[in-house]
């Protein structure tokens, strides 16, 4: 597709279950970002990938959160043993990272996660 695609669009899960969120970036974009946004708040940085490697995982809230990226393309964010405070919109973005700094980031429409 032409844009960043995230799935599912909405996810309701029971507390304690694991969830997987998927992001398909724009083809050729080397940088991929995950953010979390609670209602009415700013974007909380979680992790970013340069190719398949994640130089900075400092934003992951706890060891229940993990992410991977394969083939320099699709990324999966996994939350284990979900808690109610994990409820938020999870946003993915991709960009052409190049020497001299970042370029425009393109966002997916997000996954709204609700933990009940």
């Amino acid at each position: 597709g032409a844009g960043v695609s995230q799935s599912p669009s909405n996810k309701v899960t029971e507390k304690g279950k694991d969830v997987e969120l998927r992001c398909d970036p724009i083809s050729g974009h080397t940088a991929l970002y995950w953010y979390r946004q609670s209602l009415g708040q700013g974007l909380e940085f979680l992790i970013y990938f340069q190719g398949n490697s994640a130089p900075d995982k400092s934003g992951l809230p706890s060891d229940r959160f993990s992410a991977e990226r394969t083939g320099g393309s699709v990324s999966t964010l996994t939350i284990q043993r979900t808690q109610q405070e994990d409820s938020a919109v999870y946003l993915c973005a991709s960009s052409l990272a190049q020497q001299g700094g970042n370029t425009e980031a393109f966002f997916g429409q997000g996954t709204r996660l609700t933990v009940v």
Binding site: L43, V89, T103
Partner: protein
């Protein structure tokens, strides 16, 4: 902690007026970007200004950057009801990484 902080947190103006939002950041940067978000979902890129630029225009948007003060402003001229949205600044540090950090955002309401 957030790299960028916007102010005001919320702004309400009449259609036709200008809206000014400010962003402050903490470290040296490669560039600064402004994004818009409608309805709490995906963000849309508005404009990018590099650290060696001081001002940039795009349609009704004007962005300034003052690296000595580590601050930027976004001016929307002749605002329209359709400009109602949240606006965020984003920076990437001057450390060869591509980590893109967003500010807390300004919620703009343009009254018809």
């Amino acid at each position: 902690s957030q790299q960028g902080e916007e102010d005001p947190q919320a702004l309400s103006i009449q259609e036709g007026e200008n809206a000014t939002m400010n962003c402050s950041y903490k470290t040296s940067i490669n560039n600064l970007q402004w994004y818009r978000q409608n309805s709490g979902r995906g963000l849309v890129h508005l404009i990018l200004i590099r650290s060696n630029e001081r001002e940039k225009h795009s349609g009704r948007l004007r962005v300034t950057l003052d690296t000595s003060k580590k601050s930027s402003s976004l001016l929307i001229t002749a605002s329209r009801a359709a400009d109602t949205a949240s606006y965020f600044c984003a920076t990437d540090k001057e450390d060869s990484s591509y980590k893109l950090i967003f500010g807390s955002g300004t919620r703009l309401l343009v009254r018809p």
